[in-house]
Symmetry: none
Subunit: 660 residues, 2 copies
């Protein structure tokens, strides 16, 4: 859609994140937004300023979405701040992230108090957007479809391929549309330059204890596993750059009080995370605050905050101040808890690697699909509901695929890039607009001639408060005589690092590895090459990795199921939608299986496996094992009501599978 | 252009300088302006509130000009004030002056701090203006020209006539278009009612030491000079109305400490003014503050501030709080310094008068022009660039004059009244919009039967802190037995006085003259008549006199040369553009000579004196004395670069004469 706003700049003005002025075209629909306070849907206001900023921006976003507008339609943006300190402009970072490069006119107004006691931050806005054109009752005709199937699946990552497998098994027809020229999505395995062993540019780890789907697939496909090395020391780099080793499983060698505090905060986080429901995290207080505010509310010491920063950076590429506490706790919970998800040992998130590469799973899954059901290089442009039982999926090349149902497996930020007709449910849109990736997230794979760190007593794991790498892990394939350290480049220091020339990046990283494990000379001598893929430039990943996160208030305002819940004939999968092992391959497979079940709409157990074709409604009760209203189902019905209430919209018609 | 804004008033509301509401017409382009702080281009924030108000308004103006809008397009105006004291609404005066009678909707928001440390005042605005129509590549056809010449000169004051004389000498053809029914511009000499001697309604003084142009013209035309009387006492009227005499050249008889302080401030001002470059005043700090803030930054006593108020009132009709310190210092410097410019003695600004009247110089210059080259009653409506070598100047009566070049000599505020096609360079527009005159400036010529003040030991000079006259000077023509005191009615007290009925004005002024020099009875007895011309009602002068001034920030933001620098085929003269004796006749003549040189584009010394006619570009190097890149020229080139950068525009194509 053509931009309605013109940004007016003075050429001699340093370009900041807002514009000196914006001009709206005549004939523009102007929307005035009331002051939005930094409060949760219930009115609860967190005690800290940054959490309130996130909530106020979310509340503004909800109005923007309800108005059928986008952030790019903001002409004027006015923020009101209590106890404003010009030396600590905390508003800048969240607002810049909120605006995503759009530059409205802006005024900041410090105030002594705001309308409601406890409010610290408020924002109002003027939007300029085109007059909405009513959706035509008869959708415009699309070209004849290339393929008409029961289910169109968008994305050939693990979620899409797992869904395809199950749909095929159910005897339904389908097609998988993949934007990339390869399958695997965020699994992407490249051979070492030696030709032996693989470097994982994307997802790398599974375990064989609590990841039954991935374990089964690996076994089914006869793939070999490599156990993560946890023998020996971990290197810990402190804020001053100094490095001290500590035994894997222990805490870093801070002074006694600090160690106790780090342990206390870790245990508090673990306990709170265990108290959160994996599938439906509901806690207004925890969702109203950033994870940093959560840490500080527990009087975390600076070292404990830094330790937690390593967690969020390595796990989501995000700073603690940018993510909802509830979202982070729920993310950990989906992997069994903070400790389990972070563990490299048996049952932990990083226990096993696949010698042939994680992408091999997708390749094998794809190879088993019936011929003609997988279309690579087929990015989706539009998803158009034609009648209650038919959805047209239009590719960027104009080809059309028609299905009774559509499963999308794209990351939520990518939903914004698809034109839905009629428009995607506002709650989904609000989620897709709110979900974001960390500033930077990339794995730098440093290939060496030998695992020199082992001789020095290290297992290869390191954590750093300074960066550029937040976490380093051994990713050798000893059977292939291939040796590498995988450096997790994420969060703010990695963003700075990413802006350096390639040689400088390599030098900085080698310097850090030298500091962590050995002398700079040894490291240089051992170094073979650096292999790097920047997911933050990957359009199909939604410009980020490994998993989108949410700022405070989104789960609470939109509902914990809002992304995953089906709408009409649309079903939503992807690791992000998983209840278990969110952000992991296991979660992707689970989400695909769940969406396949939902889209089949009738479980295998009821024996119905075909849609009623024709003009009839597809609204029907999901039925399994004779139970219609279990307590779980009740929860889901209340979820839908809450969901409907969260924006003033038509109810979503849906049938839902229970095994999330 | 039709007004796009409707002012909505309530009939029961007293009309203040803003409106209860404004309405924008349908189809309007709405512009939202970001909060503009009271800072210089560099970000420097002056310490005082009033200077920041001026700077914030200038920053708003720059955005308005960049948007192609004007102050009259402001629909809503919001000001944010730190430490606001409702009993001292300091914002009102500069805002009223900024708005020039336009009444937007307005809200004042007191705030504890602003976005940036040190900011005291911020303003944002909503503008409503018509959609800019793209300039047609082929301008609409104009009627056949009345005259086609090399150079069209706008204005037959001293600047225009001096330019015409030089252009004629260079062998080029020209026409001078004058809006008035007379030549002379702001020189306008009227005979005493006795028929002997003249009363100068406008410019009156020259000197024969450092004003060689005027001296030469006076000699060339055989005019007689009258030396200013400085023998005897000056009358000083204090704030309480009390009068005490002091010898011309001394300081008023304040107490010792006050005298020392007044001398200190005078000497400081003189020193700072001598440090300023006359042609290119550059000093961010001095330009960021009002002259009053400058005085207070030197801890000036109240009497010293009042003394300086007499200076600015008498010299520019302006209060110290309304003018940039740098502008005032530069204005003084152009006349050799504060002391010289204010002096009535040899070499001073007010040393000699012309017995036949200053207008005689213009009349003589005009009389020597070739027939048909001067058109009175020909106000210019439009200046349209037709092709690179042709500019059409359209008069209000529709007649068209075509030239290769155009020299305009109108005061900068008058530039706003001419339609330029394509639009005048935004930096020029910003300057023209920013330049203003004092609230009131007029000379009340009080004619008496005899110079009664001489008998009382006075030279006729007086200064007053109370007014209504700020300064009084003897303007007798003894050889004609004609006696008058010229009262400089300027600044705020004079504005109040100007609103009185004529008889009351006369009475007040006679009362003041009585207090200054003699008894009220004597003065009444001696009084013949009051002759007055209000330049503030004179359209062609730009509603003010003697010279436009600038508020803080304009020189710094737009560049010190911004008014004078040529653009394309347009050249800018007028006393305001002079480097020496700005605001004086000498400056007018110098500016005309300079513009003539520039428009000839090739100095006499290079021997080239004709334009290449036809379609070729007129961009060519100015060449003089074989030097192409002297340090002066370099300065000018950097000035142009700064100038270009100061608003987002095409570079200005220009050739410039060096002798500014």
């Amino acid at each position: 859609m053509a931009s309605r706003l013109q940004i007016l700049d003075l050429s001699n003005t340093a370009k900041v994140y807002y514009a000196p002025a914006t001009a709206t075209a005549p004939g523009t629909r102007v929307i005035h937004v009331s002051g939005q306070g930094g409060v949760a849907k219930s009115g609860h206001a967190p005690a800290d300023y940054e959490s309130q900023i996130h909530l106020a921006l979310l509340n503004l976003r909800r109005v923007i979405v309800a108005a059928g507008a986008t952030v790019r339609d903001i002409a004027k943006f006015t923020v009101y701040v209590v106890d404003y300190d010009p030396k600590r402009p905390l508003h800048r970072r969240p607002i810049q992230r909120f605006l995503r490069g759009h530059r409205p006119a802006m005024t900041l107004v410090p105030v002594p108090v705001l309308a409601v006691a406890g409010w610290l931050f408020e924002v109002d806005a003027v939007l300029a957007c085109p007059t909405p054109t009513p959706t035509p009752s008869v959708p415009r005709a699309l070209p004849a479809p290339v393929q008409s199937v029961d289910v169109v699946i968008i994305g050939a990552g693990l979620a899409g391929l797992a869904a395809a497998r199950d749909i095929a098994r159910a005897g339904l027809s389908f097609v998988v549309l993949e934007a990339r020229d390869r399958v695997g999505g965020k699994t992407w395995s490249q051979p070492f330059s030696s030709g032996r062993g693989v470097l994982e540019l994307g997802a790398a780890w599974i375990n064989d204890v609590n990841q039954p789907r991935m374990t089964a697939l690996v076994r089914e496909f006869g793939l070999d596993l490599i156990e993560q090395n946890t023998t020996g020391n971990v290197a810990a780099q402190d804020l001053d750059g100094s490095v001290s080793p500590f035994l894997y499983g222990d805490l870093p060698k801070f002074d006694g009080a600090t160690r106790a505090d780090v342990a206390r905060i870790r245990d508090q986080t673990e306990a709170d995370c265990q108290a959160v429901d994996a599938c439906r995290p509901v806690d207004t207080r925890l969702d109203s605050m950033t994870f940093e505010a959560y840490l500080r509310s527990h009087n975390a010491s600076e070292k404990a905050v830094w330790t937690a920063t390593v967690w969020t950076r390595a796990m989501l590429g995000v700073e603690p101040r940018d993510v909802s506490a509830l979202y982070f706790l729920n993310y950990c919970k989906s992997g069994g808890g903070l400790l389990q998800m972070r563990s490299d040992r048996k049952g932990g998130g990083q226990h096993l690697r696949i010698r042939q590469g994680t992408q091999a799973v997708s390749k094998k899954l794809a190879a088993r699909l019936p011929q003609g059901t997988l279309r690579l290089d087929t990015a989706v442009r539009q998803v158009a509901q034609e009648d209650p039982s038919s959805v047209a999926v239009v590719a960027r090349d104009g080809s059309v695929y028609r299905g009774h149902k559509v499963i999308t497996t794209v990351p939520s930020p990518v939903l914004k890039t698809i034109e839905f007709t009629p428009a995607l449910h506002p709650v989904k849109r609000a989620w897709a607009e709110s979900a974001g990736f960390g500033e930077f997230y990339s794995k730098a794979l440093m290939v060496f001639k030998s695992p020199f760190w082992i001789a020095k007593g290290f297992c290869g794991l390191a954590q750093s408060f300074t960066g550029p790498a937040a976490v380093v892990r051994d990713t050798c394939s000893p059977a292939d005589n291939s040796y590498a350290l995988t450096c997790f480049m994420s969060g703010s220091p990695a963003l700075e690092w990413s802006r350096l020339p390639s040689a400088e990046r390599e030098a900085q990283l080698l310097h850090q590895i030298g500091a962590l494990f050995d002398s700079a000379d040894t490291v240089k001598e051992e170094f073979v090459e650096m292999v790097l893929y920047e997911w933050t430039t990957d359009e199909w990943a939604g410009y980020g990795c490994p998993c989108a996160h949410l700022t405070p208030g989104v789960l609470d305002a939109l509902g914990p199921d809002a992304l995953r819940i089906p709408v009409g004939n649309l079903y939503f999968a992807g690791t992000e939608t998983a209840g278990e092992w969110k952000g992991y391959m296991e979660g992707a497979v689970r989400s695909g299986e769940r969406a396949a079940k939902e889209s089949e709409c009738v479980s295998g157990r009821t024996g119905r496996s075909r849609f009623a074709r024709g003009q009839g409604t597809v609204r029907r009760k999901f039925s399994y094992s004779g139970r219609h209203l279990t307590s779980k189902n009740k929860l889901r019905i209340s979820a839908e009501i809450q969901y409907r209430e969260s924006l003033n919209t038509e109810p979503m018609r849906t049938c839902m599978a229970p095994e999330w």
